[in-house]
Symmetry: C2
Subunit: 235 residues, 2 copies
DNA sequence: CGCACATTTCATGACGTGATGAATTCTACG
DNA sequence: CGTAGAATTCATCACGTCATGAAATGTGCG
């Protein structure tokens, strides 16, 4: 049990082939545990790569970038930690691979949803909530938001979302000529705050409210930021 | 240099008094470096305890609970890491001590500021921004928010702020009988989102805007959540 | 002075982390 | 068949983390 890094005595040559190792008592918990000896490649399509990505999304979503560990991801994927490095090189590599792919889906989703300028507010909030409620997109988003507070690349992604996606998609429909970037940032602040309190900090009344109720209450605020009025037909 | 935990040979009795150690080449960077030999107490009021608390606030503010380390705090305070443990027992202990004290100031500040019900929106946003702009209160708040995404106690503090402080102080002035907790949570979501984008993620137009500009733009939204109308004199 | 106590540092333990390199097994292509 | 390469695991390394216990040095009280 005692790990002695500097032990020079009894250092068996690492090149010695070993075939005498018995099952290490927890090998049953690994993928393809039933058959297959130990170290080499498995037969057929093991799906390990995908399993790692799924596990990574979960871990990053629940613990954020700093809190997630390669060992934890490997454990959840029932795979050796070194395999994670083999496929994705580094921790940053797993993160990028796990997040980026789904971010494209999010972007496409937003692109395919037409936002009418006359009640953009409610539509934007509805779309935002749909993305968060759907686990496929929601968990990676959770990962980005959880990581954004201390991981620079995640912060950058969030910045790009606010400055790029919101400004382009939402405000592009109702251009105000001036102040567009500020309006986009204010919309972003309301949306990010909503996600923080509903999905991360879990403030009580908020995380129980049905999505449509939130749409009804927050929609006008987004509308106000975009057009300067509470609803389209007021005034 | 090589650290050998299991080294049993050459283990000099730990009780042996040592007076032959020369200055370890970086001892100048410690507090009271000029005078004083090495290990014991320093003369006069060293202020180490306060230095540790200050350093802790900085570290937690910049890296969050998980990212901050006792060694990092000790380094910034120019103190041995063990001293941090001596004063505050554990990492959680430093965090609590560093944060709690200032949170009382925040609470008192909020209690002493009267919120008139007729333009509560702008007043609340102004007070919120004042707390964040002032480093004395702002940096601990940064620490709480940065930690809230992954540290349970910080999340709890944030929940209590939204469910307690906002509901009691802001909505207490303009009671709506029904839905108070939901209104408080919505106000909280806007404020938390604002802090996230302005002070943590640093979205461009937002963190340059003068506070009063933000008050003017976000105030009506808070007012809307509280009273259901954009301004007091509309309608 | 002498003794209890607070403050300070050192040495070390026990453990977790990301990363690397070699060994082994399987697949695919010639 | 033979062999290049992909997939998988093991054994470590080097380091950083929180935490503890003991030793050394100061202060203050009787």
């Amino acid at each position: 049990m005692a790990r002695v890094p500097g032990d020079e005595e009894a250092s068996r040559p690492p090149a010695a082939p070993r075939a005498d190792r018995a099952a290490s008592a927890d090998s049953f918990s690994k993928r393809h545990s039933a058959q297959s000896g130990r170290t080499g490649r498995r037969a057929g399509d093991s799906g390990s790569r995908r399993a790692i990505l799924d596990a990574a999304r979960n871990q990053f979503a629940e613990r954020g970038y700093a809190g997630a560990t390669i060992r934890g991801i490997a454990r959840e994927a029932r795979v050796d930690p070194a395999l994670v490095h083999h496929f994705f090189v580094s921790k940053q590599g797993v993160f990028s691979a796990a997040i980026r792919q789904v971010l494209d889906v999010v972007e496409a989703e937003m692109a395919s949803t037409e936002v009418e300028s006359d009640n953009a507010g409610e539509q934007v909030v509805r779309l935002f909530l749909q993305l968060w409620e759907n686990p496929t997109t929601g968990r990676p988003l959770l990962g980005v938001l959880r990581s954004a507070v201390s991981h620079e690349e995640s912060g950058q992604l969030l910045r790009e979302f606010v400055s790029g996606e919101i400004l382009g998609r939402v405000l592009g429909k109702s251009p105000q000529i001036i102040d567009d970037d500020t309006r986009a940032a204010l919309v972003g602040s309301q949306l990010v705050g909503l996600a923080m309190l509903r999905y991360i900090v879990q403030v009580e009344p908020l995380c129980q409210l049905p999505p449509e109720e939130i749409v009804r209450r927050v929609g006008p605020v987004v509308q106000y930021y975009v057009t300067g009025q509470l609803t389209a037909e007021s005034g």
